[in-house]
Amino acid sequence: MSRLRSLIEAGDRLVLTGEARTMDAGDLDDFSEKTVEMAEWVDAINATDNPTARAHASNVAIAIAIAQMGAEPVLQVVCRDKNRLACQADVVGAALHGVENVCCLTGDDVTAGDEPQACRVFDLDGPQLVSVVDGLSRGRYLSGRSTGRPLDLLVGAVENPGAPPLEYRAERAALKIGAGARFLQLQICFLPERLEAFVSALDRAGLCQQAAILPTIVLLRGTRGLKFVHDRVPGVIVPPETIARIEAAQDESEAAYALALEQAREALALPGVRGLHLTDFRHDGALSRLCEDLRIPTREERYADAYRSPLAV
């Protein structure tokens, strides 16, 4: 059983996941070097699947690289680029290398990336992929053919608490949880009231006990990053007043860090939130600083004393 799964199933333990940096040409030492800081803090690291519709080293290759450096991978699988055969083959192939966590996404459209001419696949959608991977976990391909033995996976998904139709987002999350998702890494949300309404709807429905809810915190260097997220990440808006606030600060980088810290504190204070999903675009030690400022011990320290919640410290 994966470490992430045992933490989630324990019910009251803090859960931290993170997003691995994308890799292009290079070698595994480069990758380890870029990932070692994150590995010190988070329980598991996502091997992304062509994020924002740009080609990079594949999800399966990165997941194996994460496992080889002694960290625990989460294989991200996106419906945009591969049909149902290829998605299943990726999951089963990665499992052969010990990758036991899978996060299922519908995925940004090809028009969000640098190859808008590409064919969009979407043979499955996000909720269907969750159900199919849950089937693999139980030992059956979608066709009904046996995988030989159950893959025994931890299946998760993503939901965007900030995109319309807002009141329907919790229902869509419920659909994914019903299909087998045991964790939800939420899309980054710069509107705290939307995040709160979403988590509270899940909590009222008793769904936060069925799946670990992990809001995303993104570490950016300043307004350039915020504007990029606003302009280029589909379904995410950064309010102009937030950008203006960072722009007006004497030290933009420090203000951007303070924004992330504030978002992390607010997210962890929401009833029903189990932890955070961290994305670091700064690569300047801000990730360690964030965890320290939240008074979250390192991963090893957390395991040593069955650490529960940062609010209890």
Binding site: T106, D125, G126, Q128, P165, E171, R172, L175, G178, G180
Partner: protein, 129 residues
Amino acid sequence: MKVIATLEHVVKKPMFGCQMCGQCVLHETGMTCPMNCPKTLRNGPCGGVREDGACEVKPDMRCVWLKAEHRARAWPLPSSWRAHFGHLRAPVDNSLHGTSAWANLFSGRNRELPAGWQTERARPGPEAT
């Protein structure tokens, strides 16, 4: 069979933008065809919906699922149809593309699912309110 498919297309294309997927779910989706979603999503909107409700892929088009969700609530549809809105719908059977959903409904062909599709776990989300 070809005659039925043609007739169906003539009726449903102008009314619903029917794409002849051969496995119609209009009654479950607020009489809004999910095959008009550029990602052909059958289970709700993706996370890319724009702030004004427009489609991520086609900014001039309102998100198909925003329309579907509104109509499922607001239109006077049978309550059993509305209850199906939050059900997990199976992956599209691409081999049915271009065939008549009406004929497939009567023959039962549209209910043939892959053996590994886990219908027992496909439980509905909360009712649309």
